[in-house]
């Protein structure tokens, strides 16, 4: 039986991890490669690097981070942030990334999903969706630019279009839940997960181990992602997995 996946996310700027990571005995707390190795050892099922560099030089540094990471870890990893062309995807995949996450650029130019999927295969293309509840609609709206700009596009409809265009997976972040530590937005996750035939990663709102179980049982997620609670050691990946196992969730 396929295991539910637990995925830590690292924000990387100019080749350095930002939002400090609270591990003891780190040689270099800002080195994404060292942190990736630690999460690999701790039992993470995959990793996500979100490149938040604002400059071309910063993004070029990411290629080097990807190459070094691919040489050191034994789990798959996704790179997202600032990728707007098939050429960008190619560079990162050749450097050793397993999947590419696209968000704003895919909304602006949905052909990017189709083109990437055709050239590299659906399994490489992760469409990231930032969604927020729109009370007027009674459903969720997607936002671009890290959640700043509303689009007028419905999240479920966009998820279905992304699938139709060849996305292999969706990384779904609830802007309502993100940062609250009150748990994932399981209503959103379920609405999207039940309306597509590709895996969905729930993101935003993880505060403790039981929130992950809820994302799987109530949200119908295939995987769940978190950042700060892992980085600050509020809960370890092993603890999350032990809790899931005790509740009968199949984990690695």
């Amino acid at each position: 039986m396929l295991a539910k996946r637990i995925i830590p996310c690292l924000d990387v700027k100019d080749g350095r991890v930002v939002k400090g990571v609270n591990f003891v005995n780190l040689r270099d707390a800002g080195d994404p490669v060292e942190l990736a190795e630690i999460y690999d050892r701790e039992g993470a099922d995959e990793l996500v690097f979100l490149d938040i560099s604002a400059s071309v030089e910063g993004r070029a540094t990411m290629v080097d981070v990807v190459r070094r990471t691919a040489g050191e870890i034994t789990i798959p990893f996704t790179v997202g942030g600032g990728i707007s062309a098939v050429e960008d995807m190619k560079r990162l995949l050749r450097a050793g990334a397993d999947k590419i996450g696209i968000n704003t650029a895919a909304i602006r130019n949905p052909d990017l999903i189709s083109d990437g999927s055709r050239v590299f295969g659906a399994q490489c293309i992760v469409v990231a969706i930032d969604a927020k509840y729109n009370a007027e609609w009674g459903e969720w709206e997607i936002f671009t630019h890290g959640g700043r700009n509303p689009t007028g596009i419905r999240a479920v409809a966009w998820a279905q279009e992304a699938e139709r265009r060849g996305a292999g997976e969706l990384l779904l972040t609830s802007m309502d839940a993100d940062g609250t530590k009150d748990g994932f937005d399981n209503a959103l996750t379920r609405a999207v997960s039940d309306s597509v035939g590709i895996p969905v990663i729930a993101s935003g709102g993880a505060g403790n181990a039981s929130h992950f179980a809820d994302a799987f049982s109530q949200g119908h997620a295939d995987a769940a992602l978190a950042a700060s609670i892992f980085h600050y050691k509020e809960v370890t990946i092993r603890e999350v997995k032990d809790a899931l196992r005790s509740q009968g969730v199949n984990v690695r």
Binding site: G71, G96, G121, G197
Partner: protein, 205 residues
């Protein structure tokens, strides 16, 4: 030395680093001489079956891989590389494969998520196979929308359960394949890759 066949498809860097981490020399190559001189050959692959076969044909590497297999060189296909070992695939039309193993590759069909993506547990169908020596079954990382149906039951070395038994490891004589990514599959993946390399080097354990 382990030759990793470079035909313009797939994540060659990760496979090559994984072999190097085992303390072995890996060469990413499209040279016939280098491939045929290697202790073992890895055929990687990510992407579409038809594109991969076209690239193999255009580079003449399809003939080299067949020549290598016929010469008895240990050959390991990974992911799409495993699927290419079979006779044909129905991915985007019908495409002829390398035909080193009888069987075909079909799409997952049913009311469940496709791709089959993530960590699934291996079931050793032939636990006494030398590839599994000293190993216990565990989780490995899969990502694929098509799966292989070997014609001969005895070619099936391991499966995983995803709404049906899914071909995970195949092997016959010197030709073998893994549907999952051993280079992305934690300790068990590393161990399986190590067994392949050891067997390729002549059974030195």
């Amino acid at each position: 030395m382990i030759a990793i066949v470079d035909y313009g498809m797939g994540n060659l860097h990760s496979v090559s680093k994984a072999v190097e981490r085992l303390g072995r020399e890996a060469s990413v190559t499209s040279s016939r001489e280098e491939i045929l001189a290697a202790d073992g050959v890895i055929l990687p692959g990510v992407g579409a079956f038809g594109d991969a076969m076209r690239n193999l044909r255009e580079t003449g590497l399809d003939a080299v891989v067949r020549e290598s297999a016929a010469a008895g060189q240990p050959l390991l296909g990974i992911c799409l590389g495993m699927q290419l070992l079979f006779a044909e695939s129905e991915e985007h039309g019908t495409h002829e494969g390398l035909g080193l193993l009888p069987g075909r590759v079909v799409r997952f069909r049913g009311d469940y998520k496709v791709p089959h993506m993530g960590w699934n547990e291996l079931l050793f169908e032939q636990p006494s196979h030398p590839l599994f020596e000293g190993l216990a079954p565990g989780h490995v990382y899969f990502v694929h929308s098509y799966h292989a149906l070997p014609e001969r039951r005895e070619d099936l070395l391991a499966t995983a359960d995803y709404h049906q038994p899914v071909t995970a490891i195949v092997g016959r004589d010197n030709v073998s394949g893994m549907q999952f990514h051993p280079e992305k599959s934690g300790e068990l993946g590393v161990a399986l890759l190590r067994r392949f390399v050891e067997l390729a080097e002549g059974g030195k354990a």
